[in-house]
Amino acid sequence: MTTPTKHERRIVIRPPLSLAGTTRDENRKLIREWWAELDAAEDEGRPVANVFVMGSMAEILRTFDMPIAFPEMTSLQTAVRGRSLEYITTAEDAGYSPDICGYVKADVGVHLQGRDHPMGRLPVPSLVVATNLCNTYIKWGEIWERMYDCPVFVFDIPGWRGSGFETKPSSGTFRDDVRYVEAQVRELIALCEEVTGKRFDIDRFRETLAEVNELSRLFQEVLELNQHRPAPFNALTEGINLMGIVNAYRGSPKGTRFLEIAKAEFAERIDSGVGAVPDERFRLLLVGTACYSNFRDFAGLFEDWQGVFAHSDYMSFAGGALDRGVHYDLDRPVESMAEQMVLTTQEAMGGMFWGQDWLTEVVRDWEIDGIVFHGVKSCRTVSTGLPDEREWLLRRRDIPGLFIQSDLVDPRLWSAAQLKNRIDAFFESLESRRAIGARR
């Protein structure tokens, strides 16, 4: 068949939905509030923490009432606003290589341009918490350390260990890991006391943990809604909004409330038979990240084929393991935080390196037709082994996959024609598989 184009697509009349747009509106409101808090922090003399989506330690920082900046999100926003390249080139002019993570450069560029970001003013961090879950986090933290002389706390969560490794709470390795992580939870608490001048309030900590338990439960429920056909939300385009809020508001009642709104809107779509992509024909799983500098075009290449991303591994690893089910025991808050950190991040991060089993489960449970592996030059953390994983899943599990490459935020690496050719060929192959399957 010929490729349908955006222009040929039918205009779809959707039934009026009372909750339509509520998630988007709440998302915008919360992002505005988040920026306002970051903007005001400097004037109010509140110390800001720079953290990362994989292991933000928001549970601890929120207990100290610290505004939390996510530079990955603010870099992503420069791209969505079409401004990333100017910041990236500012950083390159200052000596940063064309071959390093574009998020780092977009952020450095903003800092070098007086911290003026298209959405507000980036705060000067008083503290950096960098987990080892991406090694670039640590290098990024060192850049602010040099710029602002702020402490960088490397929060180390030992991860997947290789052949035959399983996270077993009964194992000696798990206990060793938890001991190490628990000691770091206590070290970070002491450092936050120093930076903020406040005492650690264990009851406030418990409240934050309880909120994360709830956030995780709701997050799992929202993801499961997408097992429905047609998928009520696109894990690519709408998923990114969910991820922004669950990170920025992790541990806050506002984050939990946001997921309730999203869940209600998606449930309504299901009840009304409305899918995220009109006339859904292909259900896809994204492995890697999207291209945010050309986000609409990237999404359009799949939507043109009525392909919906029913899930993504991004919604797993970039959600601080919320999808794995976080269950903090409020009677032993510090110990339990350490245990849950080890348990859930080993699963979620293990899924990034050793992802074939988790991906196979998602393919089964979300009824995925094919996996799109998107390697981005910026991010070796998600991209390095993708071609191998794709080949393995095809060969060993007969799961079709497409491997494409561009970037997160650097539009110079976007090659529309090449991507379109590969994506079109992939959909054609999925159609042939379907036709062969139907004949059998």
């Binding site: 670039t136 030059k377 070796r380 390095t384 082994g385």
Partner: protein
């Protein structure tokens, strides 16, 4: 008895170091038919653990054009450094078919992914990540690392079907202490009398440690040091530099040669893992804890370890001061995220201190160095003029 010329010893090790079929490991297996081989990726691995189990540790540090990449590229994203490709190719191509176990440290995300790629493709090799701690200054890091060393030791014991005693570990530590002492001595000669020992020679002699039994390597170093005592040489009018950027992927030998044609490289971070531990590891207490403590508290620095006690720029400045260097070469392997990021920090610190430096990139597979030669010569000449 007259000592043999150093050139002869260097030629001998060069033949071993540059051969991707690992001839010294093959020879060892000829005499140890049931022996097991443990490979490990850059930067650091406590080889004593393998040695004490009677297992041969081999350090995989990449290859230049001696190894053509044919199969590995299809398994890795395009923007990944060369050493990850050449390491994978070694095994995929069957060139290095001796491995029973392979260990990656979590130095970067390419290394962590590589472990998964290896584990998916080589089911006969026990592929492990030795999770060296990233929170190096935490008081909990040493006990954690000791536990992690014990876990890896159990894996090794299983692969080798043996049990390792503390006595065996202590004996291995002593052997490796001696090896580190000899390498320090070699570096001292290079630092104090660079006209007697070329950087390429010191490099090959050091790197050989990773590809042959340490007993043999200690012997080679003893012979080399004896030969150096006899070697004549007169200082030439060259600037002294520290070269950094060789902590993981290695610059091709020809590139080191190009630099040394114009400068004395008086210190560097080539193969820093072999020299990571700076003092003898004590043998009187628990050997595993001693190794863990040495890794964290008696050790060098590199761009892939954040340790607030060792700010990297300050460490570099100290290296420059202590080696009497006048300038620095700040290199990084192409596509190496941590190395490339570190270049900027180093460069800023050197600017602030007014220390001349040259920033460059390399790839283990590069074959043309004319541009580099021109840059290095211009750099060195301008400095000679300035310092004259």
């Amino acid at each position: 008895m007259p000592t043999e010329p150093i050139e002869q010893i260097v030629d001998e090790v060069r033949a071993i170091v540059e051969d991707p079929s690992y001839p010294a490991a093959r020879r060892w297996l000829d005499t140890h038919p049931d022996g097991k081989v443990l490979g490990h990726f850059q930067v650091y691995f406590p080889e004593e653990l393998a040695h004490a189990a009677g297992v041969l540790p081999i350090k995989v540090a990449g290859f230049d054009t001696a190894l053509q990449i044919r199969k590995a590229d299809a398994h890795l994203a395009a923007f990944v450094c060369s050493i990850a490709r050449s390491a994978l190719e070694l095994v995929m191509s069957g060139t290095f078919d001796l491995l029973d176990m392979f260990v990656f440290p979590p130095i970067c995300d390419v290394a962590r992914h590589s472990c998964a790629v290896w584990a998916r493709n080589f089911e006969d090799i026990d592929c492990q990540i030795l999770y060296l701690p990233h929170n190096a200054a935490s008081p909990a890091a040493v006990p954690y690392l000791a536990g992690e060393y014990r876990r890896i030791l159990r894996e090794i014991e299983e692969v080798a079907s043996t049990r390792v005693t503390d006595e065996a570990l202590r004996a291995s530590i002593q052997l490796f202490n001696e090896n580190r002492r000899l390498i320090r001595e070699l570096y001292r000669v290079k630092r104090e009398t660079p006209w007697k020992l070329a950087a390429t020679e010191a490099y090959l002699l050091t790197r050989a440690a990773g590809v042959m039994p340490r007993e043999e390597h200690n012997e080679i170093l003893r012979r080399a040091l004896a030969a150096l005592e006899e070697r004549e040489g007169r200082p030439q009018d060259r600037i002294k530099v520290v070269f950094v950027g060789g902590f993981c992927e290695q610059p091709p030998l020809d590139l080191i040669s190009v630099v040394q044609d114009a400068c004395y490289i008086v210190d560097d971070d080539f193969m820093v893992g072999l020299r990571w531990i700076l003092e003898d590891v004590p043998v009187d207490g628990d050997p595993i804890e001693a190794l863990a403590d040495a890794y964290l508290n008696r050790s060098d620095y590199s761009p892939v370890q954040h340790d607030p006690r060792k700010p990297k720029e300050e460490m570099l400045l100290r290296k420059i001061r202590e080696s009497g260097a006048e300038a620095a070469i700040i290199a990084a392997a192409k596509m190496c995220e941590p190395g490339l990021e570190e270049q900027v920090g180093y460069s800023q610190a050197l600017f602030a201190e007014g220390i001349p430096h040259l920033v460059m990139e390399f790839e283990e597979k590069s074959t043309t160095f004319e541009q580099t030669r021109m840059e290095v010569e211009t750099f060195a000449e301008s400095l000679l003029f300035e310092f004259a």
